[in-house]
């Protein structure tokens, strides 16, 4: 049996492909939106996963360094090391700041860590790790700096000795890594004038031995929850397991953004459905005479339904392919991370198939109402 849908499409191929590519752009935007959400989750977890502790110790009644301000005395690390089951304690500082690449401002997120510890920055692809108190800095390639560049932060100028690739904060800002002491000075050391004024007032403000959080690794066989409960009980600080901190990041911090993206994606899908419906309806009505002739010469409703449904599915399928090409081609041009994964594309394909079938219903309904007598003139 002749495939009417295929013949009709071949007859006006350019128009069909252009239409499909137009719809494909919309589907591509849907894919990109999903990719942005994936990117947000991925970015949010880069730093916690890089540090990869068993427990996070943060200021009492706060949610931790990524969600709320947290300040702790650095010397708490000695007490923490004394708890049964604790293997390593990493004092850390976190700070958002703005640096300048020439005249261009660059938002960045600083992680201060003990340079001599076992910690290694995420995806350190070029150069080397920093050494202790050496005015060295590691930056992400996204900042635009290169090895050997000098960056002025606060009172000091740092030399770029290492470059990471795609190391970003939960907000998508590129990471900067400093030695803990230097990061503490950058964050907590007041200006000389303020220190002098404070001294006159009898206040002591030159101390910088403060950190934002401690990342603890445990010895094998120790339950993080039990160790955390002990620390909370004796040190009166908040303690989160790695999973709890991940939940705070993904559920608390990016939930609203995720919902917003989700809403936008749903709206885009609805718009795509409406557009596909309108296109199929218009395509069908444009063939009203041919459908009337087909009915007149005896074509069954099944043949006509199949023709319209196949065209709708082909339109959806082609638009999906176009959308994928568009999304993959444009993903790297977005300022934030866009992660396109095959399972999302597969799920979207299923949605597109359903949408295409639903979209074809209005066209089919109209086609079945066409009076075959309208093919006869006079």
């Amino acid at each position: 049996m002749i495939n009417l849908a295929q013949r009709d499409i071949a007859h006006s191929l350019g128009k069909f492909i252009t239409t499909a590519l137009g719809v494909g752009m919309l589907i591509g935007v849907v894919l990109v939106m999903i990719g942005i959400y994936r990117g947000m989750v991925h970015d949010a977890m880069i730093v916690p996963n890089n540090i990869s502790p068993d427990l996070w110790v943060v200021q009492k009644d706060t949610l931790g360094p990524f969600a709320e301000n947290s300040r702790l005395h650095e010397d708490l690390k000695y007490s923490l090391k004394g708890f049964s089951g604790v293997q390593e304690v990493h004092p850390l500082t976190f700070q958002s700041l703005q640096i300048h690449l020439g005249d261009k401002p660059v938002r960045a997120f600083t992680l201060g860590y003990e340079a001599l510890s076992s910690f290694t920055p995420y995806a350190l692809t070029q150069g080397r790790a920093i050494t202790i108190r050496s005015k060295e800095i590691i930056v992400d390639t996204k900042t635009g700096f290169k090895l050997g560049d000098a960056i002025t932060l606060g009172r000091n100028t740092y030399t770029v000795v290492g470059l990471t690739h795609k190391a970003v904060s939960s907000g998508g800002d590129p990471m900067i890594y400093l030695d803990l002491r230097e990061a503490q000075e950058l964050q907590f050391l007041f200006s000389n004038e303020q220190i002098r004024n404070d001294r006159e007032r009898g206040a002591q403000s030159a101390a910088t031995a403060t950190v934002n959080a401690f990342a603890l690794t445990l010895k094998p066989g120790f339950d993080p929850k039990s160790v955390g409960d002990e620390i909370h009980r004796w040190k009166h600080q908040e303690v989160y397991t790695a999973q709890e901190q991940a939940d705070i990041l993904t559920k608390n911090l990016i939930e609203r953004s995720a919902k917003q993206i989700g809403m936008f994606t749903v709206i885009l899908l609805i718009v795509s459905s409406v557009i596909i419906s309108l296109i199929i309806y218009t395509m069908t009505m444009g063939k009203a005479k041919e459908i009337a002739i087909l009915k007149l010469i005896g074509a069954s409703n099944g043949i006509i339904t199949k023709m319209i449904a196949q065209q709708s599915l082909l339109l959806g399928g082609l638009a999906f392919i176009g959308g994928n090409i568009f999304a993959n081609a444009s993903a790297n041009f977005f300022p934030k991370t866009v992660i396109l994964i095959p399972t999302d594309a597969l799920k979207l394909f299923i949605v597109i198939v359903i949408v295409s079938i639903l979209a074809s219903l209005s066209g089919i309904r109209s086609a079945l109402k066409i009076d075959p007598a309208s093919a006869i003139g006079g």
Binding site: I2, H11, I297, G298, P372, G377, G378
Partner: protein
């Protein structure tokens, strides 16, 4: 007898605004006959041809096709399209070929819808197109054909399902005098050679000598013309 029409009527609308397009028409059409349906515009010719073609449902009366009762106050067949596919061929004023199918596909479409295998349908279609003198246009699209060629392809399509009756709605209206005459002569030849009843709606009285019978339709009344 291919067609038997008995007191067949068609009324559009209800009450005072109703219009009776065909009033109790009674006639028979036999195999191999060419019958002209003659009448002014709005006389009911198209309504009559669509009722015979089982496209428009009559309001009352009886209609039989090839000995099978089609309508008797209600449809007696469940699938009128199957009936059209198998027993009726249509030719239109403006040929009405499917624009996205080539000549061969236009002709083989109906047999293929009837379940005829592609090879067999192609062979029959080629023979018909050869008979009608358009065998060299198999792969051409309708837009690439002249008016006369298109109408010949339309005739081939109407014959492809070996119908008992061909219903033609002003098949020569879009053609010049010479081509119109050629098409009508062809239809007459087909009717006689293939024992197909051919009913042609026409305004063109010059063609009347080519018909075996003439039915005049005026204000919905069908009368045999002498």
């Amino acid at each position: 007898m291919i067609i038997s029409v008995e007191n067949l009527s068609k009324t559009y609308g209800e009450g005072e605004s109703s219009v009776t397009a065909i009033k109790e028409a009674t006639f028979q059409i036999y195999a191999g006959e060419t019958v002209a349906l003659l009448g002014p515009s709005g006389s009911g010719k198209t309504t009559l041809i669509t009722m015979i073609g089982c496209i428009t449902e009559p309001t009352s009366g009886k209609l039989s096709l090839d000995g099978e009762l089609m309508y008797d106050q209600k449809w007696h067949i469940s699938d009128t399209r199957r009936l059209r596919r198998e027993k009726i061929g249509f030719i239109f004023q403006a040929h009405n070929l499917i624009p996205f199918l080539n000549v061969l596909e236009n002709v083989t479409l109906v047999p293929q819808m009837n379940g005829v295998k592609s090879d067999e349908a192609n062979q029959t279609a080629k023979e018909l197109l050869d008979y009608l003198g358009v065998e060299d246009k198999l792969t051409k699209m309708p837009s690439q054909l002249s008016g006369g060629q298109s109408q010949r392809v339309a005739i081939a399509r109407s014959l492809a399902n070996s119908p008992k009756i061909i219903l033609a709605d002003e098949p020569t209206a879009a053609l010049d005098g010479e081509r119109a005459l050629s098409v009508m002569q062809l239809l007459r030849k087909l009717a006689h050679e293939q024992e197909v009843a051919i009913v042609v709606v026409t305004h063109d009285e010059r063609m009347l000598p080519l018909f075996d019978r003439i039915l005049r339709v005026e204000d919905g009344v069908v009368k045999e013309a002498v």
